[in-house]
């Protein structure tokens, strides 16, 4: 196997995106994603069984177009990497079964890797060396996690995570109660455009001194969602107009404020002047603006991979697999299963 610039296929099926990516060392060759998002729209959130069924249908065409985009054949590969967790178990199993079957039929080594660490590892594809240690803030509909990454392939620590809803989920739920469609992120963004982010002071979860003692780097968005609901109900009960733009802007500000405040607090507390963002919620322009402005004020260098690499994708899994191979790690074998709560300390299973 080529260990200096291995050709790696990455398979990602942890949530509602079927992702297949191909990298050669730190060079991105293909990144193809099929999403079942539209099928979940009428339910207001990802339905695990619908996602898993869609992965099975999408896998072959997604793999074929990734191979075509990269201009390589399956037999050219040095290795295969697959997400084994965390994520929705039925969805993960589709990717794992496919990856194992490819590994056996092609007689290639298989690496089972951590999805969250993949979000960090994707940055190697963006050029410039990623410096360590770095703090990583990963925000999507499925996770909200703050990591301390001392070394991508050997030393990742979970500083905190959401204790209830993921940030992306909060956007979906608030969009719903404002009568906006799914997915909520872009809808709230649109509605917030003409709103005043200071119009309503919504609560910042786990930010009071007594919460910070125990949950300094943890997040909570369910109280915020309830506060928005209460605000809307009070206005409707009183027969008043609901100022959607102001509520959307104020809600979005509350989410972003708490995300960035906690991430930068980790940078300061731990003396790490670097912050990396990842996950689908990074698509939110206001989040990127606030992160850029406040990181600059705090003297923290901010890294945001291209948006196509921030959402769940197979390239990030291939990139992490390639890093593991280049640093001499042995493959996972064929016995591993899905682990819906795989800890970030398990970078390679």
């Amino acid at each position: 196997m080529n260990r200096s610039a291995p050709l790696v296929l990455g398979i990602e099926t942890s949530c509602d995106e079927t992702g297949v990516g191909i990298v050669r060392g730190e060079t991105l060759l293909a990144n193809v994603i099929a999403s079942s998002m539209e099928e979940h729209a009428r339910y207001g959130g990802v339905v695990p069984e619908i996602a898993a069924r869609a992965h099975l249908e999408a896998f072959t065409p997604t793999l074929e177009s990734a191979l075509a985009e990269a201009g390589v054949a399956l037999t050219d590969l040095d290795a295969i990497a697959v997400t084994s967790g965390p994520g929705l178990s039925g969805a993960l199993m589709v990717g794992i079964a496919a990856a194992k079957a490819l590994a056996v039929s092609l007689d290639k080594p298989l690496y089972a890797v951590n999805h969250l660490v993949g979000h960090v590892g994707v940055d190697v594809l963006a050029g410039d060396e990623l410096e360590y240690p770095t703090i990583a803030l990963l925000v999507s509909g499925g996770h909200t996690s703050l990591l301390l990454v001392r070394d991508l392939v050997s030393d990742v620590e979970l500083l905190g995570e959401t204790i209830d809803d993921a940030a992306g989920e909060a956007f979906d739920k608030v969009a719903r109660l404002l009568g906006l469609p799914y997915p909520g992120g872009p809808e709230i963004d649109r509605a917030a455009r003409d709103g005043d982010p200071q119009a309503i002071r919504f609560p910042r979860g786990l930010s009071l001194p007594r919460d910070l003692e125990e949950h300094r780097y943890d997040f909570s968005f369910s109280g915020l969602k309830t506060a928005v609901a209460r605000h809307v109900e009070r206005l409707r009960d009183a027969g008043e107009d609901v100022p959607i733009a102001d509520i959307a802007a104020s809600f979005r500000e509350a989410v972003i404020d708490v995300l960035i405040t906690k991430a930068l607090a980790a940078c300061v507390d731990l003396g790490v002047p670097r912050l990396l963002l990842g996950g689908g919620v990074v698509a939110n322009a206001r989040l990127r603006d606030v992160a850029a402005q406040r990181s600059a004020e705090a003297g923290v260098a901010l890294r945001i991979p291209p948006l196509s690499l921030c959402t769940d994708n197979g390239a990030m899994i291939a990139a992490l697999g390639a890093q593991l191979i280049m640093s001499g790690h042995e493959p996972s074998g064929l016995e591993f299963g899905s682990d819906s709560t795989l800890p970030v300390t398990e970078i390679l299973v």
Binding site: G90, L102, S105
Partner: protein
């Protein structure tokens, strides 16, 4: 020569050629499909001393079977076929049970059922087999509470009944070989889930204030 996979109950993998099962491995546990599927495939190939290149195709049981496990076998078969550049031969898993019944001397009308969980059974009915011992399915596959079988299949009392715990991958492979050698049609690409995903459309956000 076919690599055959069935995960409609536990996880089964076999290697078959013509009328012979060359190797067969199975894990009955209905919760470990994704864990064991890879090793079972390598073990079967090793047991029979067969290289992937020597295969003519991949046979797979399309169900009916519980979603999560069933999908593992189908995903594996599709991906294996891409890697090996061989065709996928899809069969209805119940047909493999019926084929086993007729191939071992059974005759006449047959009712096959397997566990669908939630106190229901998957079922398929067969009127008999043709001159090549290929089963002729007359109704199903369907899903039903056992007490309601009579409504689904009024003449079911006259059927010989097989309540199977398990679909052997070997039988799936043998059936696929037989179908291929007689130029018969295979099953479609869609898994036979026979149940819609469990989802409820909520009536909208609930009030948080009383």
């Amino acid at each position: 020569m076919l690599l055959a996979i069935d995960t409609s109950a536990g996880t089964g993998v076999a290697l078959v050629e013509g009328d012979t099962i060359l190797a067969q491995r199975a894990v009955e546990d209905t919760r470990r499909h994704a864990e064991v599927i890879g090793s079972l495939m390598t073990e079967c190939l090793a047991d029979a001393g067969v290289a992937v290149a020597a295969l003519s195709g991949i046979a797979v049981g399309m169900g009916p079977g519980p979603f999560t496990g069933l999908r593992v076998g189908i995903a594996a078969a599709n991906a294996f076929a891409l890697g090996a550049q061989k065709p996928v031969l899809r069969v209805v898993s119940h047909d493999a049970l019926a084929f086993g019944h007729y191939a071992s001397g059974g005759s006449g009308a047959l009712l096959v059922t397997t566990d669908a969980r939630r106190r229901e059974r998957y079922w398929s009915a067969y009127s008999g087999c043709d001159g090549h011992v290929l089963p002729v399915r007359s109704a199903g596959p369907g899903i039903v509470h056992p007490d309601a079988l009579e409504c689904e299949l009024p003449e079911y009392g006259s059927h010989f009944r097989v309540d199977a715990e398990w679909v052997s991958a070997g039988a799936v492979g043998l059936l696929a070989e037989r179908l291929a050698s007689h130029g018969r049609e295979f099953a479609g690409r869609s898994p036979l889930y026979l149940r819609s995903p469990d989802v409820t459309l909520s009536a909208g956000p609930k009030r948080v204030t009383s």
